[in-house]
Amino acid sequence: MTAAGHAAPHRDDAGSRMGMWLFLLSELLLFSGLFIAYAAYRSIHREEFHHAGAELNAALGAANTVVLLTSSLTVALGVRALRVGREREVPRWIGATILLALAFLAVKAIEWTTKYRHGLFPGRPELAALPPGERLFFGLYFAATGLHALHVVAGAVVLSVAAALVARGRVRSDAPVVLENAGLYWHLVDVIWIIILPLFYLAA
């Protein structure tokens, strides 16, 4: 109890971080289901996966990889700024991360729009007319990149909230775990994209 008679707020940073890692592992296993399905279907439809992969724009996939890697750097620099007591820098680093997240989503929107125009989109007759292996490839592509894009949006929201808490002084350098955990989530989004790039964009 404090002198004023109020209980000090409970904090368990190690437990909080452990909980976040467990959550991240459950997310990893969620995506692993898609990756295992990819491996199974690719082993059955090697040539068709090869042809379907050629329809994706590897340059855009690589560009988006650099965008996400850079956003991981800005998050890491933001967390570092908080941990060394430079709280005022945090909103700038996280703001840069949000801009990069928007850039990533914009590139993704361009890709999906192009695929829609070419008929390579779920529900389009052009896609339904393709061989089974190519339909499976695009089904997995839209499922994996769509689920990943939802995680990008969620990560941007979580980081925005964490940065706002830092800006209001509710998360400080002596207790940075909220921003650290938000950063961990963002890095996981990056890790998943690192795996998606070779599976889909370099499949040809």
């Binding site: 452990m18 467990l22 990893l28 295992i36 491996a39 059955i44 690589a62 650099v66 620099l77 370099l202």
Partner: protein, 96 residues
């Protein structure tokens, strides 16, 4: 719960920038390998470069170097589980 992680010195910003540079360079190498050496060389490059990139992000950006054994073993267990599933799957399809 494992013992709390040992305090580590904060990484300099230039180290983080160096890790980012390595990640971008590895991405370039991966794309180049798959473009100019398709087939088995590209697959080998993917199998080497992708885990290397993931490890760099985990170790430096996600501060795995600061975590205790419990988190490291959890990650290792998840990676082994996924590898076993994919391995069994490939064995199944290989001998059908």
């Amino acid at each position: 719960m494992s013992a709390p992680p040992t305090p580590h010195a904060e990484l300099p910003a230039r180290t983080l920038v160096g890790v980012w540079s390595a990640l971008v360079a590895l991405t370039g190498a991966l794309v180049a390998a798959n473009r100019y050496a398709p087939g088995n060389p590209g697959i080998v490059a993917t199998m080497v470069i992708t885990p290397a990139k993931v490890s760099l992000v985990l170790w430096y950006f996600m501060h795995l170097r600061e975590e205790g054994r419990a988190v490291r073993y959890m990650l290792l267990t998840a990676a082994c589980t996924i590898t076993i599933f994919v391995g069994l799957l490939m064995l199944d399809y290989s001998f059908r």
